[in-house]
């Protein structure tokens, strides 16, 4: 998979690409405006960053605290080293409950573990209940954004889809009408499910509780009607204290969508009478990332999606162009840790403009890690051609004389070569851009004549 090829494809539909850019820019702009109403915004970011750094430095003991307290609260805890084991845990619980159909609210972790196809293979019907996720599930697509899963689709496409799947009126594009149809469809699923799965936004070590945030209320509709709640949680989701939530809940929704808080912020501490809560604690590459000194703090991510909304690349290439579960800037520093070969072009899908690092509510130095991944990727399997030409260039940079010769050669070549050759399709720079006009002398030459 190659990001440039996917981006080029995405940009072919210029009107849609422009719409995508403007829609996400609108979200970023909302985030900018609301963040500027909080005088202590930058202090909150710093606090959140320090709390997460502290957690990562003490992850083992906090996980043990969390587990001990959760067990005391009557919650079942399962540990999974990888996606496969996570999926096995889920399946085992479903089989024990003799459950054939589940509802699931948004969980990037279950996407990462490819839980849906795994369960479907074992005869379980999985219904994603977040509206955006239900839409992409109908289309057999993954989410293209971690907060706005169906942001790549226009309402006309959703209308056609709902006409086919939910028998809505053909040609009715009204979002309220379409949402109402989904409400009716999903209400039936909520009422019928014995087991509900959610993700986890935060796990609190000192109380053993965990917090799930939604605007739709779909996580709660699922779990409070079901007998069993399975919460899938990456091991990095821990916060030490309940009061830390004050910092993170102030940052999360404002960063994600520019709203002051999500409308539902549920704190699960112990199951209701006669019901069960299971937490699956998942590693799946996280301890390996923790061991990479330069990249460990990518684990501070709270999945707000702000770096996607701000990224000029993401906005113009769409989430699918990344070919990874978590797309965008944060995905481009997480994914190479999972499969460097598959995701080798992602750290290069950036101008290193740094906007992602400045919006990040936990101050992950995303663009610096993109730079560092580039250094790693070229070490292990740089494309041979690129490596070679860069090596040649290195030789040139080392020698002033060589540089001067090749420089003036380049300049005279530009002067004498016909445009047809300079702007040959193989010359990528010149495909849609002119080259600068070649001056009659370099600055060095001018300086020698005029100042020395």
């Amino acid at each position: 998979m190659s990001h440039p090829a996917n981006a080029t494809e995405f940009l072919k539909d210029q009107a849609k690409a422009k719409w995508h850019d403007e829609t996400l820019w609108f979200v970023r702009d909302k985030r900018d405006r609301i963040s500027k109403t909080i005088p202590e915004w930058e202090t909150l970011r710093e606090l959140a960053s320090q709390i997460k750094d502290h957690v990562l430095a003490n992850l083992g003991s906090y996980l043990e605290d969390f587990e001990r307290n959760a067990l005391k609260n009557g919650i079942h805890i399962h540990w999974a080293t990888d996606a496969e084991e996570h999926n096995q845990h889920v399946l085992r619980i479903l089989q024990e409950k003799n459950c054939k159909a589940i509802v699931k609210s948004k969980s990037i972790l279950t996407e990462e573990c490819h839980l849906n196809p795994y369960l479907e293979k074992h005869g379980i019907e999985v219904v994603d209940t977040d509206l955006g996720e239900r839409i992409v599930q109908f289309l057999n697509q993954p989410p293209s954004h971690i907060v706005l899963p169906a942001i790549h689709l226009k309402k006309g496409e959703i209308s056609d889809l709902f006409h086919e799947k939910l028998q809505t009126e053909k040609g009715n594009h009204d979002p309220t009408y379409l949402t109402q149809a989904a409400r009716i469809h999903l209400r039936e699923k909520f009422l019928g499910a014995k087991v509900a799965i959610t993700g986890v936004n935060f796990g609190i070590a000192e109380t053993g509780e965990f917090v799930v945030c939604t605007n739709e209320g779909n996580a709660d509709m699922g779990v409070h009607l079901a007998d069993v709640h399975i919460a899938c949680m990456g091991i990095e989701k821990i916060l030490p204290r309940r009061k830390d939530l004050g910092v993170f809940l102030r940052l999360l929704a404002r960063s994600a969508t520019g709203q002051p808080i999500t409308n539902y912020n549920s704190h699960f501490r112990s199951p209701a009478r006669g019901k069960e809560i299971h937490i699956i604690l998942v590693d799946n590459g996280r301890t390996a990332q923790l061991a990479r000194e330069k990249f460990k703090n990518s684990l501070k991510c709270i999945r707000c999606g702000a770096c996607m909304n701000t990224c000029p690349i993401y906005r113009r290439s769409g989430g699918f162009s990344y070919g990874s579960t978590v797309p965008g800037p944060i995905g481009s520093i997480l994914s190479p840790g999972l499969d460097m070969k598959k995701h080798s072009t992602l750290p290069f899908a950036s101008t290193l403009c740094g906007s992602c690092s400045d919006v990040c509510p936990v101050k992950i130095n995303i663009h610096e890690q993109l730079y560092e991944w580039r250094q790693e990727i070229t070490k292990t399997h740089g494309e041979f051609g690129k490596g070679l030409s860069m090596k040649l260039a290195s030789g040139i940079f080392k020698s002033p004389l060589a540089y001067k010769i090749s420089g003036s050669l380049m300049r005279s070549a530009l002067k004498t070569l016909p445009d047809s050759l300079i702007y040959h399709p193989l010359n990528t720079w010149g495909k849609s851009r002119n080259l600068p006009e070649t001056p009659k002398e370099t600055f060095q030459q001018w300086y020698q004549k005029n100042r020395s």
Binding site: F348, S355, S357, K391
Partner: protein
């Protein structure tokens, strides 16, 4: 304004030397007008940024060693490029045996506008430039060197280049729709992600066009080269100048 009797060494990025000698000349003349003793150490090469950003920082050891040896003896090093200064300060590898010289050098190398506002402590320049000017904030200067506040942060707005430009008589400053969005140059990104690079550049130009920019300026000719290349290809009539060229012309 301070008038340092110290010597400023000009660091002229390789592509400026080759393609935009006038920017080098303007930088030199401007600093001289501001009372600096300026010299241009000969034997300058590329600082190694394109290589480092492409993932080959380790291969820039030679260029970096050369850079330190060439510039260590001066009081200040000034470049008309935020991007190259950022590279030298943050992305050049530590050179064994030259650690002390390298650290000292990082403390005295500056991008042009920050040198004028922070070191020369110039609050405003007197001059005339009767044009409608749109500013392109190049990302490495903006978010790397913090030459201007970034729109993402909750901070008191500032912009070092604007501080120097906006008081020039007749200069009409353009407020853009997106004040600091990347233009899509990005070094090798310009060719490895060509389609995106062009789209991003076109979008920046549209923003300027929608706000009746007459001259696009900036602190990095690499971004300007990219934007100008797209504009001229598409017959857009905007003009392009480096900040140094405007300032040097305005205060003469």
């Amino acid at each position: 304004m301070k008038s340092p009797s110290l010597t400023v060494a000009l660091f002229i990025p390789c592509y400026v030397d080759q393609f935009y000698p006038n920017v080098g000349v303007a930088t030199l003349e401007l600093l001289e007008k501001l009372g600096c003793k300026v010299c241009y150490p000969s034997g300058q090469t590329c600082c190694g940024q394109p290589l480092a950003n492409a993932g080959y920082e380790r291969d820039t050891m030679g260029a970096t060693r050369h850079f330190i040896q060439l510039f260590s003896g001066y009081d200040y090093v000034v470049a008309p490029s935020g991007s190259c200064v950022l590279h030298v300060k943050e992305h050049s590898p530590t050179v064994p045996g030259l650690e002390k010289e390298q650290a000292a050098l990082h403390g005295k190398i500056f991008e042009l506008t920050e040198f004028i506002t922070d070191i020369l402590q110039v609050d405003q320049l007197v001059g005339k430039f009767p044009h409608r000017v749109g500013y392109h904030a190049s990302c490495h200067g903006q978010r790397g060197l913090r030459l201007a506040s970034s729109s993402e942060l909750n901070q008191t707005p500032f912009n070092k280049a604007r501080k120097l430009l906006e008081n020039l008589e007749g200069l009409d400053w353009v407020e853009l729709g997106r004040t600091d969005e990347c233009c899509g140059f990005g070094g090798t990104f310009a060719v490895t992600e060509e389609a995106l690079s062009i789209r991003m550049g076109k979008d920046r130009l549209e923003d300027h066009q929608a706000h009746q920019t007459e001259i696009i300026t900036g602190g990095d000719m690499s971004c300007i080269m990219h934007l100008e290349g797209i504009a001229t290809r598409n017959g857009q009539k905007m003009k392009f100048m480096h900040v140094a060229e405007i300032l040097n012309q305005a205060i003469s």
